[in-house]
Amino acid sequence: MTGKGAATSWQKRDDVAGRPWTGRVREYDLLKELTIGVVVVGLMVLGVSALFGAPDEPSVSLKSWAASAPADFVATAAKELAGTSDTAGYGPPYNSTPDASQKIGPVDLQSLPGVRLPVDTAQDFVIGPLEQLPSPPAALADWTAATEQQRSDWASAYSDALAAAPDNDPAKVADGSYGPVPALTGALADMARQGTLDGVLQGGGTFYNLDYTLSLLFLGDGSYFPGLAASQHLSGDQWGVMNETGDTPGQSWLWLFSLLYQVEPFKSSPNADALAVVTMAVLTVLLTLLSFIPGLRSIPRKLPVHRLIWKDYYRHR
């Protein structure tokens, strides 16, 4: 076949594209061009850096969270004890909450690794850190002695009462059967405000730490941290995947991935992340293997942008 379809084929043929070029040539200095490129791009990089810099919004700590939004901190701690936080109901790889994982049709990739990074929200976020205090609160003994059901009832009741309280203020919560929960959450808030909780949660009592999984999950279970992100246009529904703090461009090359989260069926699907990732994977494979796909590989011939690219060559044929 020598028709126009063959002209965009990937296969090596005995034609102009398939044979070594034997026509006119021009002088070309590869190393000189590379050197000029590095110098010119370097001037651009240094110039733009001097002009615009780069944003560096300070990180949020558990200390700043407890100080800036104490009611949100206490409410989140209560949810961690009740097992009703986002992390507690996340599923793999943090826990085995039933039916929590995202699926693509019948395929459950999220459950494949199992609970590889186990997180027990009550123990890891609240009870464990309080046990590290030089003088642990007496309420810990009541919590430890109680049954699972009793713990859950206390924490859920306190969590509901906090949500109903004016300004969600722990000091204005109506009387109720909350057991040791108010004392535990209050002690944790004090611990956080003093700056102790950051170190304990990150390091687990050890000197070194490079793993921030627990701190980040706890932080994200509240509304303070996501609220700050929303104010910086970083939420998922604000195209946050490709944004950066301030007005500096972020990962704009992720625009298509970000777009998927703005449109149906992704937008309202409980499996939005899995669907978006798989869709992007399929599109990426298609683009990589584009030269093997009849029709798609012929687009450059049908929309002849190449006439602009090689206009000098075509003009002098």
């Binding site: 002209a7 084929s9 990937w10 034609d15 102009v16 594209a17 398939g18 044979r19 070594p20 070029w21 026509g23 006119r24 040539v25 021009r26 070309y28 200095d29 590869l30 190393l31 590379l34 490129g37 590095v38 990089v45 850096s49 615009f52 780069a54 560096d56 990180s59 949020v60 996340y90 790889p93 990739l109 999220q110 459950s111 494949l112 690794p113 590889r116 490079l210 793993d211 701190s215 980040l216 999950l217 994200g220 910086q232 970083l234 500096t248 990962q251 090359w253 992340d273 899995a274 978006a276 990732v277 990589t288 030269s291 687009i299 450059p300 942008v305 090689w310 000098d312 002098h316 044929r317």
Partner: protein, 254 residues
Amino acid sequence: MSTRAKPAPRLPGQDADAGTWTDKARRWLLAKLPPDKLLPGDQPIYVMSWAYVFGMGAVASLVWIIASGVVLGLNGPQWYHVSPLGGFVNSSHLWSVELFFIFMVVHLWLKFWMAAWRGGRVLTWITGMLSFIVSIVAAFTGYLLQTNFDSQWIAFEAKDALNSVGVGAWFNVANLGQIFVWHITLLPLAVGAVVVLHALLVRVHGVVPPLDASEDDAQLSTNTVEVGGNPPGAGRQVAPATSLTPAEPKDAAL
């Protein structure tokens, strides 16, 4: 029991082609990429368009990414928060990445419109795509390493996408130690290797000719070299280019 004859001892400088693995590898490499293709002194006349700037721009940006990244890495991830010089180097790292992606994406689109996979160049296209994909992952891990609010939020959001397909258990975006290893060793090595392979494939196969180029084009009927970047047809045709257009083996393509 049979005995194998030992090869006769060779003198220095004597033809070393004894059929060893190393000899075969050398012959293969020289056939695929002889020195005058690796470092050419000329290019086909159609390689004279603004469209050819962007690939080199991406490589030049990568040089600045690596240079600024080495300075940042050697000073530790916290340095740029407290040092004005560190802040500037960090800005240079960010903007060289932004330029890298601009150059790379434009280069990718232009190669698409050129149908640059033609004539046995499909691996060049695929390695170009691979370098784009690996670069996206490398840049993502860089954003996670900023150790500021942005990296906190990106890690918190990105974990859901990674966990949803079972990757997050091993590629834990909240584990700074893991991400540091990915960003300063594995992914830069991967980007570098794929980009080098891509560039070598461009040299092996040559730059793809224009889509409508045909055997009876004037540019193919004469065999001359033009000097000084003059437009084709208008420039001086100074010398027969027989020595500059070496006969290439038919099996040069991979």
